[in-house]
């Protein structure tokens, strides 16, 4: 059936949890592209047939015309499904760059779900975001609500090693040690599940 594979591809994306990525469905993606080529060939051959019969392709409304039309519409549909699949995944990847990517690499289990171009997109997006922030000398990724106190107390949950450079000092983030930090310094670690504030 026309457009069935493309539908499955979109459905595959939609069945995932909101904001979570599933592995890039290479197999289905390629099948849809293959189907596009088949439609294209069928379309071409129908138009050739009409031309051989000496009919005006634009105006003649015979059976071949409607056959070609259906192939044409299927092509457009497949294209929309493919584009939507890639676009919506890219949105999630961009979201990841804001939430987790600024500090370090992505966790391994998320990274293996991306395909190569998405990985590149993630890196480039993080890079340009970092560049913008360093040029403007402004962290655009901090909490939107202004804190009552610029400092918070945190306890380190995982050993992060020594010599971590904060804005005003370097600190040794050994496990279970407690620190009194600038809130802006601590935020990025909290969002990565390393510290707990209280």
């Amino acid at each position: 059936m026309h457009g069935r594979k493309a539908y499955q591809l979109v459905k595959d994306f939609a069945s995932g949890e909101k904001g979570h990525l599933k592995s890039f469905n290479n197999e289905l993606f390629d099948r849809v592209i293959e189907e596009c080529n088949e439609h294209h060939n069928a379309l071409q051959s129908l138009i050739r047939k009409m031309q051989e019969e000496g009919l005006e392709v634009q105006t003649a409304k015979n059976a071949d015309h409607y056959g070609a039309l259906i192939h044409h519409l299927s092509l457009i549909r497949n294209k929309r499904c493919l584009m939507a699949y890639v676009y919506n995944r890219a949105e999630i990847v961009r979201e990841l760059a804001w939430n987790v990517g600024l500090l370090h690499e992505l966790p391994h289990e998320i990274q293996e779900k991306l395909n190569e171009t998405e990985e590149q997109y993630f890196k480039d997006h993080s890079k340009s975001l970092k560049l913008y922030m360093s040029q403007m000398n402004l962290d655009v990724n901090v909490d939107m609500v202004p804190p009552k106190d610029p400092y918070i107390k945190v306890r380190v949950l995982e050993d992060l090693g020594s010599g971590i450079i904060l804005s005003d000092k370097t600190a040794n983030f050994a496990r279970h040690s407690m620190h009194f930090l600038k809130r802006t310094d601590a935020e990025q670690y909290i969002s990565r599940d390393k510290d707990v504030s209280y």
Partner: protein
Amino acid sequence: MANYYNIDDILTEEEFVPVVFHKAANGVIIDPSSETNSVEQGAKVELPLWLAQELCLRQAVSISVPACFNQKTRLEIQADAACVDLRSRSPYFYEFGCKIAPLVGDKTVEVLLLSAFKIRYKEILTKAYTAAHTATSKFLTLLTKEETNLYEAAQSSMAAFKKWRKGGPRLQRASVLGRKRKPIE
């Protein structure tokens, strides 16, 4: 027109509608009863909405009202709209109805959608604010996609309100990392 990249819109347009071909078409495998690769004039076929819609605009086919808006559904909705299982009819019941109504030229479809939504809307919000989570799981299976979103929005606004009243931590882990959490001894 809805957003080109909208997933829900794409899925809505995959719903099947019954059509009758007014023109023959060659070289396509659409009619399962036909032995050749073509559709004859007058053939009755089920097509996905995205295809039927465009062909209808070019007057190649005419669309009739899909099964999910049949007399039985209408009677059930008239009886008690809140208890009708709309999801099994179509997970995109309302969106599908809005798209199909101008194509079939049936004014009663719009009336049906509006009256169903009005009654169910009230019911969904009441359930979302009051009922415990376990009690509603059966009710949730009756909802369409749109209604599920509505239900979740109502619940999260209620949760946000409670949190605001009590106060709580503002900084949290990024939710994408939620799954990988290991137990910390």
